[in-house]
Symmetry: C2
Subunit: 232 residues, 2 copies
Amino acid sequence: MKGRLYGVGVGPGDPELLTLKALRLLRTCPVVAYQSAEDKESVARGIVAEYLPGNQIEVKYHLPRALDPYAAQPIYDQVVTPIAEHLAAGRDVVVLCEGDPLFYGSFMYVFTRLSDQFETEVVPGVSSPMGCASALSVPLTYRDDVFSVLPATLPAETLKAQLLNADAAAIIKLRRHFAKVRDVLHHLGLASRARYIERGTMINQKIISLDEVYPDQVPYFSMILVPSQSRL
Amino acid sequence: MKGRLYGVGVGPGDPELLTLKALRLLRTCPVVAYQSAEDKESVARGIVAEYLPGNQIEVKYHLPRALDPYAAQPIYDQVVTPIAEHLAAGRDVVVLCEGDPLFYGSFMYVFTRLSDQFETEVVPGVSSPMGCASALSVPLTYRDDVFSVLPATLPAETLKAQLLNADAAAIIKLRRHFAKVRDVLHHLGLASRARYIERGTMINQKIISLDEVYPDQVPYFSMILVPSQSRL
C-alpha cells in the first residue's frame, strides 16, 4: 500500500502556533520532508524542531527560486522524487511548510506533482498576515472590508492601483522591493498607517517604523500591513 | 493587579486545528468568554468544548449585527462590560473567536473597547480561507498572485471589479447574497473555476457545486474560493 502525503502548515514562526493536528502528524509519520535554501537550515524544520521525536527519516529539498518557470519544471520534478519514493514504498510523509501550505506555500511544488499519484491531505496553518497582525496588535479587517495580499514584486503602478482598491492589505515578499513599496505608500498617503514587521512571531521578531528600515537589510520574512480604517 | 485580556483564535471549525498556545490559555485562564447569537450555542465554544477544564467562569455575550454602527456603540459598550469587570477584578480572560481574532473577527468589538485599559495579547488562529482551501484540496495562491478577500455584501459591480483585479479570491459572508455572487461569477466566466464549501473543516462540512446550491439555504459559515490559475 502506498504512503499518504501530508502537507502541514507550521504557522508563522512561534512554535506554539502549531496546530494540534500538525503536532500529531509530525510526531507519528515515519518521514518528515522540508525545503530549505541550499546551505541554510530549514526555517520550517526550525519551527518544529522541539517536537520531532528523533527517530524519523528526514528529507531536505531545495527549490531554486530565480529560474524561468519553463526551465524549472524538470528540476522541480527531480526535487520531489525522494518524497515520491518514500510514498511508493508505503511510508507516510509529512511535508512541512511555513505558514499555510496552499497559500503561497512551498508545498505547492510537491502538491502539483504528487497529489494525483498519492492520497494527499493538507493541514492548514496560521498564515503570516494573521500572525503579524497579532504580533503588532493591529485589527486588520472589519465587517465589509476588502482585504488584499500583495506581493512587493509587482510594479509600483500595480501596487498603487491595488492599494487604492482595498480597505486593508498585507504586502509580502518585500526584500529588495522595500524602497519601491515605501515610495508607493508615501505617495498614497498610507505611510503613517502602514506597519512594518520582521520575522513576526519568531523569537527574533523586530518591529520598527517604515522610515527606520534600511532597504538593503530587509529579510524575506518581513511584511507591511495596512490595516483597515473602517468603524465597527 | 488587573487581569490580562487574551483574544484567542480557535480556527475554522475542526477542534484539532486549535494552536498549542490557544489550548494552553483556554485550559489555564479562570474566565472564558465567547459571543453567540441570541438563542444559539456559541460556535467558538463548540469548537473548543472538549478542551475546557470545566471549572471556569464562562461569559456569553451577544453582538446584535444588523444595527446602525452609530446606534450600536452604547450597546456594544454594554456587551463588553462583564469582561471588563473580570479583568478589573484581576482575573485573566480568554475571549474565543472563530478563525483569527483580528481578521473579520468578533473579538474586535472587545479589542477596540478594552485593549487600552487592560494588557492585551492576541493569539492568531487558522483563518477560514486557508481552512477551506485545505478542505477542498485547492492550491489558492502562487508566487506573485494578488489574493483578495471579498465580502459578498458588496454590490455586484464592486464584486466584478474586485474579481477582475485579483488572481485569486475568497468570497465570504455569502448567506442571502449567494445568488448575486453566483451571477457575477457566471458573468465573468469564473463559475467553473469557483469552488463552494459550507462549514469548511467542521464535522458537518459540505462541498457541492455552485449550481447545486439553494440560494435560500446558504449558512453563514460558507465560502466561495476562486483559486489562482498561475503556473509554478
